[in-house]
């Protein structure tokens, strides 16, 4: 049994430059409620509490978005993503509990799981459902990945989700990593694809074939960089593979809503996304790279390459200016 996890209203907020409105959230969630999706994640692109000059100011605060979603979701679970260092227990997680969030995903860069210990343990002690998210999960070797995932599980996470935040994986990477986690960690494994190299859906399918049980996707692939694996494509592939899947109609209705409402924001695989995916750089940097490459008169390709070399992680957006400045002065 696969739990399909819809990140349109969270990762999609990256593509929308954090302009998501409560009205759209309400409208979308009304369809999602009928769709057979397991959970809908809502909030700022970098998770609740992340609205900032550094990674982008949200038009609407997380609590208002969560309230709008909560009104429309009943069977379907309401979920959030939160990153320690941006979000705190007091300022963000406690209010989210009060907003009636059902699933808490606590994410860290794949090597920094220890920063999430307090947050995961706190939620666990409050009897909340907590998932640990390993972001930029390509940026570590297999052994390191397993040990970080085990740490997440030891804090009380009931699932560990691998995020391919840079869209760097090809299907064989997904096979190796999901299979290793399934074997080693003893909690559910989830997978979150990005489509930088054009293999987002294939990667999601590989994760399913290797017994990942939580699969992320978004309508029309609305998400950071080249976007996520389109949820409607995952569903149709899953039906063709197994003969059983939630009916496609509501998923198509959701993707249609996104397509009609945000035609100019729909992500796609571009030369720039291929460069960033191949360099293993966080997809969410795309708007800054576009803007600063133009401002300093350097090529986007050079800038992506340099970001890859310096191994920037999400939250270092302010360094892109410094690096673009360095490239200009070369």
């Amino acid at each position: 049994m696969i739990s399909f996890y819809d990140v349109t209203l969270r990762d999609g907020n990256h593509a929308l430059r954090h302009t998501l409105t409560p009205d759209f959230v309400r409208e979308y969630c009304q369809i999602a409620e009928q769709s057979g999706v397991w959970a809908v994640e809502v909030g700022h692109g970098n998770g609740i509490g992340a609205s900032s000059f550094l990674v982008g100011k949200a038009k609407t605060d997380d609590n208002s978005l969560l309230a709008a979603a909560r009104e429309s979701l009943n069977k379907v679970k309401l979920a959030i993503h939160a990153i320690p260092g941006f979000a705190t227990i007091k300022r963000d997680l406690i209010p989210a509990i009060k907003s009636g969030v059902d699933i808490f995903r606590i994410g860290t860069h794949v090597t920094e799981v220890t920063t999430a210990q307090k947050h995961v343990e706190f939620l666990s002690a409050q009897n909340q459902t907590v998932h640990g998210v390993l972001m930029m999960s390509h940026a570590i070797d297999l052994k390191g990945l397993v040990s970080q995932a085990k740490l997440m599980a030891s804090y009380g996470a009931s699932a560990v989700v691998l995020m391919d935040s840079a869209g760097n994986y090809v299907p064989k990477d997904v096979v190796a990593r999901v299979a290793a986690l399934k074997q080693e960690i003893g909690v559910q494994v989830g997978f979150h694809a990005h489509n930088n190299l054009g293999v987002g859906v294939s990667n999601a399918i590989s994760a399913i074939e290797n017994d990942a049980t939580i699969i992320d996707g978004s309508s029309m692939g609305l998400g950071a960089g080249a976007g996520n694996a389109p949820l409607e494509s995952i569903i149709v592939n899953y039906r063709r593979m197994t003969g059983s899947a939630p009916p496609l109609d509501k998923f198509l209705e959701m993707s249609h809503l996104v397509e009609m409402k945000y035609p100019e924001f729909l992500p796609r695989t571009t030369s720039s996304s291929i460069q960033s995916g191949d360099a293993g750089v966080f997809s969410g940097f795309a708007p800054q790279v576009r803007q600063l490459a133009a401002e300093f008169g350097v090529s986007q390709e050079d800038l992506w390459q340099e970001l890859g070399k310096r191994r920037l992680v999400a939250g270092q957006e302010s360094m892109i200016r410094e690096i673009a400045q360095d490239l200009m002065n070369l």
Partner: protein, 316 residues
């Protein structure tokens, strides 16, 4: 006017500042190394909890009293001590402060306890919230690395801005430089840094962000300050920022302005500094730890200087 005293005038008497360092972990050991190399200071004791700690063993033959029973073991030395540095933990600090008060001494708090008065040396007597105590008994909190590295920028930008609406501080540090205490107290780090920004600006819309980067070779610490306000005097901001950065550099040699204050959107100014560590004991990429220790030494110097000057005036 202590700020006019040049460093060459020091010491005003031949008395060195006699101190003890409590806590023999990375921070305490680096602090001890730094104080041993500073002619203004004499380290009378290095205090840990285990006689076998590598920090204590390292100071063998270099610090006269290597003590392993915590602050109680300082008992016979209080008469000679001017003050102490606390590099232990937030929970232990409350107890240490109580004992230091009994002995009427000062303490510099390098833990995230938030008991002491938050102080950034470069802003002493500039910001109304940053003052040296006129009493010898004092507790100064060194806040956080984000707080120490951002304060000069926040002050310079907001001083020449009208109606400050939002202040944001984001720091990235090398993963290797973030020990278990930092990782466990990441929420407290955020609270404490934000509290400093509010104290400094009176603005309550403040946000602090901390990002750990695992890249090899390790990255240097960077802190970006972003301010939104009704309007700015960019020329004055640039002048003030360069001036303050130079002043911080006098006690944190690896502190540099890497992105000068610039307009970053309508009604917004942003600037970035980089902090390279001095490499006393901790590696150079630990600029985050270096700036806290450098601030602690500078604060102790300023405190003792001010209070000795006051005592000298009273005597004469």
């Amino acid at each position: 006017m202590r700020t006019l005293l040049s460093r060459e005038v020091w010491p005003m008497s031949n008395d060195k500042i006699k101190v003890a360092v409590i806590g023999t972990g990375n921070i305490g050991t680096d602090l001890c190394e730094r104080l041993l190399k500073d002619p203004k200071f004499e380290v009378l004791a290095f205090v840990g909890r285990r006689s076998t700690s590598s920090g204590l063993m390292r100071m063998s033959g270099r610090v006269p009293n290597l003590l392993d029973s915590g602050i109680e073991s300082l008992e016979p030395l209080w008469a000679q001590l001017d003050g102490v540095f606390d590099a232990t933990s937030a929970s232990a600090h409350a107890e240490h402060w109580a004992i230091v008060q009994q002995h009427k001494r000062w303490i510099i708090d390098l833990t995230p306890s938030r008991i002491g008065k938050q102080l950034v040396p470069v802003l002493i007597d500039k910001s109304a919230s940053m003052k040296i105590s006129t009493e010898n008994v004092a507790n100064y909190s060194m806040i956080t690395c984000g707080g120490q590295s951002s304060a000069a920028l926040i002050y310079a930008i907001t001083k020449h801005a009208k109606s400050v609406e939002e202040v944001e501080i984001s720091s990235s540090i090398a993963s290797l430089s973030a020990g278990p205490a930092t990782r466990n107290n990441i929420d407290e780090y955020i609270d404490s840094t934000e509290n400093m920004a509010t104290l400094l600006t009176g603005c309550s819309a403040v946000k602090s962000i901390l990002v750990l980067n695992p890249a090899e070779p390790p990255v240097m610490m960077r802190t970006t300050v972003h301010v939104r306000a009704a309007n700015f005097d960019l020329v004055q901001i640039l002048k003030e920022t360069r001036d303050l950065v130079a002043k911080v550099k006098s006690y944190v040699p690896g502190y540099d302005l890497v992105v000068e204050p610039h307009v970053a959107g309508s009604g917004q100014i942003s600037a970035t500094v980089k902090v390279l560590g001095s490499g006393y004991y901790l590696p150079e990429y630990s600029g985050n730890l270096d700036i806290i220790n450098a601030a602690a030494v500078e604060t102790a110097t300023q405190h003792v200087q001010a209070n000795r000057l006051k005592d000298a005036r009273i005597k004469s």
